[in-house]
């Protein structure tokens, strides 16, 4: 118990902060912060597995998040029959061509010795294959995008409940990680960072511009929800009764029946959105707890010890007969799959998929700040990092507004400098994150909750 005191203290402070937001700002804001904290926690767990367990640097988090989001779209949206009829065949043919191309390349790689001719012929096959696919798929893509472009213009998905996408998102992200890991994991740490960053940009470029698959920058809105809709809740009897019971003390004070009804309506509207957010919180909490149990088990298993050995001294681990390459690939896939889950969760919560919103600042670097600040190698630390950093990211604007007003209290409102500072309040969050990261790296390089190795 005493050993874990700092963990408990850190989490209690975090919870109190969120509760304070609930009390002073509103419960709606507090819960939306809490939900995004949970999603961030899932992302940091994925990054932490790669960086903290194995020392692999992955700056491609944004790409896996987006793929998870894409999974949510492909699973939950109903298929657009007309688009399938218009261009489905062409798309399937192109997919088939891609499969053939990959198989041919694999065959050549297996069959022939490494030589210049082999390299050039593979390059020729890939280039001609890409051209062939591009020109053969063109009419199909145009036909699909022409189908009611204002509403659909894409193939749609499978029409399944969106919850399934959390698993499919993990599979998508894991698949991408497999490909990237196969080609890039041999690179030195900082090269790997740059390569993964750029590959994630390629993924985003594809998601943004392949409208037939993702609707691109036209966004997909109104995704199905695993939680009830506010509008439905507001007309459901049991929910109204629940709200009435919950607020009975306050409502009984109002004498006038009409006023009371109006107050109740107001409370029901507020309550419905809080209730929906609570549903999400419950779902997310389940995911976080399951992942936490799994990752903790893995950390203290023989496999976890092996990963730490590989991280701390690759050559020694190799000499002991551990397959470093294979284990690196495995952990790269596992970590990315977890990030994919988070991506699907994020889109599930928002109910919309906006490829344009995936930016490396928010989805790669911020997550890294979370991992470093929280404590790499320690799952509780990583989750805490997700909470602390997301909380500050959201609350940075109010905090800095308060500070600016506090320090410039003597200066009149019309002062140009003060007005300028107040106008740029949203950007102080970058400053806060940067300074926080620099200070933590300097004075507490292992993070708020450092990794502890217990040898049992």
């Amino acid at each position: 118990m005493r050993k874990n005191l700092n963990v408990i203290a850190a989490y209690s402070i975090m919870m109190v902060l969120i509760l304070m937001v609930g009390i002073f700002q509103s419960w709606n804001i507090a819960l939306s912060i809490f939900n995004l904290c949970l999603i961030s926690a899932v992302m940091t767990m994925g990054a932490n597995i790669q960086w903290g367990y194995a020392g692999l640097i992955n700056f491609g988090i944004m790409g896996y998040t987006a793929l998870g989001g894409l999974a949510a779209v492909l699973i939950s949206v109903d298929p657009v029959q007309e688009a399938w009829r218009a261009g489905g065949f062409d798309i399937l043919m192109s997919l088939w061509l891609i499969v053939v191309m990959v198989l041919v390349v694999r065959f050549i790689l297996k069959r022939f010795e490494k030589s210049k001719i082999r390299t050039y012929s593979i390059a020729a096959i890939i280039i001609s294959g890409i051209l062939l696919i591009r020109f053969s798929a063109e009419p199909g893509i145009e036909a699909i995008e022409a189908v009611d472009p204002a509403k659909t213009g894409f193939l749609g998905g499978f029409g399944l409940p969106i919850i399934f996408s959390w698993i499919v998102g993990a599979l998508f992200a894991g698949g991408l990680a497999f490909i990237i890991g196969k080609v890039a994991l041999g690179l030195r740490a900082d090269y790997l960072a740059i390569a993964t960053l750029l590959i994630s940009e390629i993924v985003i470029a594809i998601i943004k511009h392949e409208d037939w698959l993702t609707r691109g920058v036209k966004n997909v809105i109104g995704l199905k929800r695993p939680a009830p809709y506010e509008v439905d809740l507001q007309t459901t009897d049991w929910f109204i009764n629940l709200v009435e019971k919950f607020h009975s003390g306050k409502l009984n004070l109002i004498e006038n029946l009409a006023d009371r009804q109006a107050a109740l309506n107001q409370l029901v509207i507020e309550g419905s959105s809080v209730f929906v957010k609570l549903c999400y919180s419950g779902l997310f909490l389940v995911v976080v707890i399951i992942l936490l149990i799994l990752t903790q088990k893995a950390l203290y298993s023989p496999w976890g010890r092996m990963m730490r050995a590989i991280r701390d001294n690759e050559e020694a681990a190799n000499a002991m007969g551990k397959n470093v390459v294979k284990q690196h690939l495995l952990i790269f896939i596992l970590g990315s799959a977890i990030v994919g889950i988070a991506g699907a969760m994020l889109v599930t919560q928002d109910g919309l998929f906006t490829p344009g919103s995936y930016r490396p600042m928010r989805y790669t670097f911020l997550i890294w700040v979370m991992v470093i600040v929280g404590g790499s190698g320690n799952n509780f630390g990583a989750i805490l990092g997700g909470f602390v950093v997301w909380f500050l990211w959201i609350e940075a604007a109010p905090i800095s507004l308060f500070l600016i007003n506090f320090f410039t209290a003597g200066i009149p409102e019309t002062n140009a400098l003060k007005a300028h500072l107040i106008e740029s309040v949203p950007y102080f969050r970058f400053l806060m994150m940067g300074l926080g990261l620099l200070l933590i790296m300097r004075y507490r390089p292992k993070g708020i909750l450092p990794e502890k190795i217990e040898i049992k």
């Binding site: 080609v183 750029l198 500072l421």
Partner: protein, 336 residues
Amino acid sequence: MDFVNAIILLLNYIFIPALTYGSQLALGAIFVTLIYGILRFANFATGDMMSFGTMITILFTWYFQSLGVSLGVLPTALIAIPFGIIFMILYMLLIDKFVFKYYRHQKSPPVQFAMVSIGVMFVTQAVVRIIIGPADRRFFDGEKFIIKAREFKEMTGLNEGLAIKSTQVLTIFVTIVLVSLLFWFLNKTKTGKSMKAYSDNEDLALLSGIDPKKIVLVTWVIAGILATIGGALYGLDKSFKPFTYFNNMLPIFAAAIVGGIGNPFGAFLGGYVIAFSEILLTYAYKKFFMYVLPESMEPDSLVQLLSTDYKFAVSFSILVIVLIYRPSGIFKGKVL
């Protein structure tokens, strides 16, 4: 005649824009490569440092414009650039003193440096946005075109116009001068040679009495010059927006690595490799073929290898391929 038209078409839409863009990338890539070769880390704050230098240049440009100072046909920003450079160098030295120096003394691994540079990136981004805001800014004044497309058509009687913007000529000219000076400095002067030695083998260089403090200082000074001029030229040619500058970090990294990171000459060429491949692969050649081929063979489609949406993706794919097959870059890196 058609053949000349085709050549002019390529010049106007591919060659000159690519040369300009490549020069801008090249300056950034040399900046990245110098930091990598001498201070030994991948600087993720590259784009934002460039935007900081450009921001100072813009502020001084506005100041000079308000004073009524101008260079006539040339943009006022040219007088402002030296001030931008001074502030940029001061900012870099400040950051080096408070942030990077500590890790250099600790002999931290490159990954930790990279993480720290992400912290610097956040801070710089905040500083730029707080001071000048995230909006798109144009600060070009003076004569916009050297040759206008219409004038060129009238002059030569060709169908295709050739438009040359003054910023394009300025960019290419300044890049050539700056890069020649830099290579002269690195190859001929004592300080330059000691920088090379330091980059090659730190311990040996220290043994032979090279002062590491001086090397670091000179590196940041050169970096400041390159970052500010590169950023300001990009801003003059296109426009200044902090987010674009942050994004430009990616093709700049690609250029530096493709050229062989640590090798300034490689980085210089890498900038053009990236720029030309981006533009060559995404240009629609329909009009070109209409001039070159006889009428019966004219293509119906746009004859575009990739849609322009994939501009960035092209350079990143090149980078990934280079990284996998030749991690030391086309021109063999790490020699300075």
